[in-house]
Point group: D2
């Protein structure tokens, strides 16, 4: 555990999976964090390289060699971030957990409590079942109390973050009809990571759009499980993810019926009550957010509108690599270590945070 | 009327509004059309300029001066295409109609039969009411017989084309629940034309997305009116248009409930029956179309999938400037003048067209 | 040989390498060509697939199965286009040549006459040396007479096309100083083909630029060889290719000193004399071309300007897949078969072609 | 003047022209600066609006109303940043200067000492001639001593920053031939600001490139003047700026002849000697920088290569809004107020800064 003085903590950090986009973003955020110190970077194919040769953007900023993971190196480490493809984290987490070191896993291995769902959607056999129940879902705005006590945090998926932050206040307050909710999301390409496939080369993505993984996306059971957990609802929803010709960001559009002829002010109040004390949710009310305004921030921008037929239209926008990955991970770190949530993530003139 | 010989027509054409993107596309298509001859180009701010200076892409291809419109010039003209901002066409159409010249209007002035709807959504007072009933809606695949006899064709909007072609077969066959259909569309920027506003400059659109005109878009009443006209249905739908960081194309995603526990093969058959004889509708069935594959074509690509909850997910993709504007206009011209629909629009090895 | 009547030729065509971007473009152009008939499509990994599943854009247009190449299939073929990665064509060409079938090779295997240069830049040992001298360089505007008699045409590289068309008139007329010419080119990503590498994924290319292969690009010896061949000059030039965040096109900017205090009109005349009878070179004179205006065309747009210090600035723009590959290949086919050069490539109202 | 204690400064700041892209970037940087406090934001058309409505990205971060400029409001201000279109700053600067307040002008009004050049390139009559000689050019790496004593800093243009940082070490050391240097730059669209014109809408810029202002760009005399000032050289150069289909960044490619048959190591040493103590210049040596790696940073990445003909190829990359505008302005503020140059601009683990 880090030494905590009244006004000073310095958290010693290891990152496993430093060579991906989420790893790069984590490093950038942590370098600006006054209470974090990056001690170890681990990678596979990048082991042996200086991290500033893996991510040239870090040249002149950080001078640290990526190493092959060895759990015996972690003696001075307070917290490990894991940013690996699904199926890899579950083989590493037990070794770290047994040392009493805190873990934030940015991947999907510890999000689903239901093993059948895990195997169906992730196509892996789970190898660390006993740690599943110990993991805490890191949707910061909705699970702060549990996160503050967690030893393992399963950081949410990017789509589920953008969807749940928009839907939960309404489901919790029984505002919308659970019989049918339509969710359409567009994601920047960095969500697919640095993995190489013909469908991700520039010539194929640019000036195009495509939907993918209709009804088979691994974020579907995650959304289901935590909508139930946080709002005790089990709505029937469709979710259609799309690839956007842009590098970063998720833009989610949700249509739903409302349960009664509510005035829009009722909905205004529901969101206001839920989020007025949350620094990273910006309520646009009936204005419409633009994706570019959340890029490179940890914000989730949310709007709501009623159309003529009293269909409710929700929009939410996040940066998939920040609020959808590395930023929310650091927000969770702040919560776990008793720091102000915004530390290292937001410098603002707002007095209230 | 053009002189029609058994195997030869040469349609003499004027284009009003030649300097916009739809005008440019019309010119390009018509130059490749074996039975069309562009005789006159009209414009406002561009009057007096050579069209190849207005659209540099036409340099070396066509050498014609844009003129100020004068209805007395139209003596040898068989067909006038109008590609003007809404509210302008209705002042010009009567002058042309009275001369017995056929008209295809790419704008919105003659699409809505209901004047209240027109004024509410277009914010114009209609000045050619008596011609409204004479205009025929140019959704080529659904209105061919009427188009073939029309004197004025109101060419459909880009969004309505992509939405109606996907929805109509299902609504006509009572496959989907009309209580709630969710429609999300993403459009390339050329849909906004060449008009200049800060929100359309590259720095604002690039690497971003935004929804706009939720529940106020002028294509909503058009969709309503013609879903009823072609399928006798009045579904409750939400429609959320978005601006895509790409120049061309519309990608529409639709979610709906089905009326019964239909097997997907029922839906396969509905589409097959409707479109197997339509050269410009490509049925992807359960594969997912990519926007890039319709760009620069007159095709509409359509797919359908049922997710686990028996929510039906429809995708349709068109080029907004071609099937959503100039291409469908030429398809309608072909129908009006007794030509094969694909003339000038599609060279293919398929024997059946 | 095809049967040639006074006014009708139908050239029977095979394409080897139909599954790449140049292959796709060739197919699209040839489908619109009144004297071409695609008989055979050959591929490696795509063998056995319908070409409309390889290129979804061709769905509904052409229905032909890609086959594994077998030279015994070519009996009825008049012309073979080859669009393969460098080093592959030289193993196939001799088998076709021996059958007396004409060949247009879009790759680099038959462009360089100097074997040392070939091995140095292409890193292959040449296996068809005896055919090198028979191959004719297909820079259509400069080698028409030789092309018309050729049995093998080596279609030029994309960069060399854009560079030579701009430079040759000035070098031939000794207008510019050969001691130092600076050439900077930006290419769309389709120039790299469909090959998959991390550096070509959207997230790496988008919102970025990079120069590459400084002084090692395989187009350097091609430029050298043919500047000498066509203009008898051996200038010292630097060539720096860059990757542009766009799918198509090459934009070349050239700076050079002029040999004397020429008036700009002298230069105007040089270009006018050289290209006034060439349908695919558009002279912008002192106006500056935009890349978008040549995309999807076979044009090369060229401008020239003198700055205050009498430095000459040349700009040339082409579509890398059309004038830089498939379009020029078809232009060469037209020349080889005695057709008008513009056939299938340009429908225009210009009377003079 | 701010109260300066041994270890604490809090600089009170006003920004004139807060509603443009440079203004937005300045605000973001200063909010992260530990010794800066934004007290006043001034604008014209945006006066009366909250800055977070002008730049939605600032929502939840800063809550300050944009005001109409009034020099009588500046009593507590230590430093004014001006980010206005050319020709506007010179009317405001005298009023501020007379109050003894320090000024950093991001525009071009105080960069050129030669009035004829100013009027020729900027097309304005200068109205504050007496302050021209007092202004200090803010190329931080080359003018630190003068900047530290300056009352008015003329912050460099974006192109000149990227060009001079690459060229000056070589010119100062007489490495390259001054008879002809070819400079080609590509700039992101944010360099054109938020001003609205048809040529800047997304549909015109996307998937395109164009050169512009060949030999007439207002940065030409700036480059000339300061190459002479810093390296006592007067090279003959061509400069061709281009518009890149990307929001941010400048990528500059320079070709030149070297004066002698230097080994590349000589050039390595020249750069190393010049910049090893400069935190914001990253030397890539013979590796090639990618634009994306400097975006959102104050770095200038530089590489050099000799091609086979001993032509020297320089590449430099900056973020036009940061090192090319707001970032260098803050770097200059740090220098003027005796702070470490990197304060608020770079958090790094390098010990030496």
């Amino acid at each position: 555990m880090p030494q905590i003085f009244k006004d000073f903590v310095m958290i010693k950090i290891a990152i496993i999976g430093a060579s991906g986009y989420s790893g790069e973003e984590l490093i950038k955020i942590l370098l600006n964090h006054p209470h974090a110190e990056i001690k170890k970077l681990y990678g596979f194919s990048s082991a042996g390289l200086n991290i500033s040769n893996v991510h040239k953007s870090l040249k002149g900023i950080i001078d640290l060699t990526v190493e092959s993971f060895d759990e015996n190196d972690l003696n001075e480490i307070d917290l490990v971030f894991i940013a690996l493809p699904s199926g890899e984290s579950m083989n590493i987490v037990p070794k770290i957990f047994n040392k009493g070191i805190k873990i934030i896993d940015l991947g999907g291995d510890f999000r689903l409590k239901n093993l059948n769902e895990f195997e169906k959607y992730y196509k892996h056999h789970h190898t660390a079942i006993n740690l599943l129940e110990k993991s805490v879902y890191g949707l910061s705005e909705w699970n702060e109390s549990n996160i503050s006590k967690a030893k393992i945090v399963a950081n949410p998926g990017c789509y589920p973050t953008s969807i749940q932050l928009a839907l939960l206040p309404l489901l919790k307050n029984k505002i919308i009809n659970e019989n049918f909710i339509s969710i359409t999301s567009y994601s920047g390409t960095s969500g697919a990571g640095k993995s190489v496939s013909q469908s991700m080369i520039f010539s194929e993505v640019n000036e195009s759009v495509k939907a993918y993984k209709i009804s088979t996306h691994q974020h579907i059971p995650e959304i289901k499980q935590y909508l139930k957990f946080f709002s005790n609802s089990e709505p029937d929803f469709s979710f259609i993810p799309h690839l956007l010709p842009a590098t970063r960001g998720i833009y989610t559009t949700i249509s739903a019926k409302i349960n009664s002829d509510y005035d829009i002010k009722v909905i205004d109040d529901v969101y206001e009550n839920e989020y007025s004390e949350k620094p990273f949710v910006r309520l646009y009310k009936h204005d419409i957010p633009e994706l570019k305004d959340v890029i490179h921030t940890n914000f989730c921008d949310i709007s709501w509108n009623l159309d003529e037929n009293k269909n409710l239209i929700l929009i939410s926008a996040i940066d998939n690599l920040i609020k959808g990955a590395a930023g929310q991970a650091v927000q969770n770190m702040n919560i776990m270590f008793g720091l102000n949530q915004i530390t290292g993530l937001l410098k603002c003139t707002e007095k209230k945070w």
